[in-house]
């Protein structure tokens, strides 16, 4: 099992570095370009959520991404030490098709995009850390 740790300060302008790193890792794995795109987006969305919601925009925290790869797929853990996600329903909410300006979603799209990229998504709020776990199996040989 191979693993890599990536850590940034909790600043939105640094999230692109996580995305680019994960994209680079995915390009060396048996994933399609669409799957790699989706995983890059998912990691960026998860890190954005940590910074915007867990740290509430504070730049003095850190966001740690651990990518673990084995022969069957990869697991990406996105970890922060901020406030835990309060509304767990957001982890499973489906997006409605908006029919008008008033129905445009104000939020929740990030977690939806994470779910679309993954085979499964888990979340655990601990005493010290909150961890979002994204699992994706390899579909190519």
């Amino acid at each position: 099992m191979d693993a890599i740790d990536l850590t940034i300060a909790s600043r939105l302008d640094l999230v692109r570095l996580l995305g680019l790193a994960v994209r680079g890792i995915c390009q060396g794995l048996p994933l399609t370009p669409d799957e790699a795109d989706a995983l890059e987006l998912a990691v960026c969305e998860a890190a954005n959520n940590s910074i915007k919601h867990a740290y509430k925009g504070r730049a003095d925290g850190s966001v740690r991404v651990t990518v673990v790869v084995d022969g069957t797929g990869l697991v990406v853990c996105v970890q922060d030490q901020g406030a835990p996600l309060e509304d767990r329903k957001k982890l499973t909410n489906e997006l409605k098709v908006p029919q008008s300006l008033e129905e445009l979603p104000e939020g929740g799209m990030g977690l939806y995009l994470i779910r679309k990229a993954a085979d499964s998504v888990g979340y655990k709020a601990g005493d010290q850390d909150n961890v979002l776990v994204i699992r994706k199996a390899f579909t190519q040989s």
Partner: protein
């Protein structure tokens, strides 16, 4: 991220100069669009040709701009790359809420013929 505005047939074409419309850049676009709307603009085409990566915050900045514009005008997007087009499809925002065109010329022509054109 920078923006270049030009007027064509009464339509303000805003070209986004930057590859990433992400959570770091989204407030800049939102602020730019609010400024243009407060200056009296009503018809807008956002040219996303250079944007290679967009996240939900980027989408939210487009939606927020549309809400600010309200019923006073129209906004369209054009020149979407494949990844951005997929994002609109996954979030189902390509089903009528956003008017999406392949070219600036097509978008301008459609909005210039709009009833909101003064």
């Amino acid at each position: 991220m920078d923006f270049v505005n030009r007027i064509e047939q009464g339509v303000t074409v805003v070209s986004i100069k930057g590859q990433r419309l992400d959570a770091a850049a989204a407030p800049l676009l939102k602020g730019h669009m609010v400024d243009l709307i407060l200056q009296g603009g009503t018809l807008f085409v956002l040219n996303l040709e250079e944007v290679d990566f967009m996240d939900s915050s980027g989408l939210a900045s487009l939606m927020s701009s549309m809400k600010t514009l309200g019923g006073r005008g129209e906004m369209a997007v054009c020149c979407l790359g494949e990844k951005v087009r997929k994002l609109f499809a996954i979030t189902r925002l390509d089903r009528g809420v956003f008017r999406i065109f392949d070219t600036v010329a097509d978008a301008v022509a459609s909005l210039a013929a709009s009833p909101n054109q003064s």
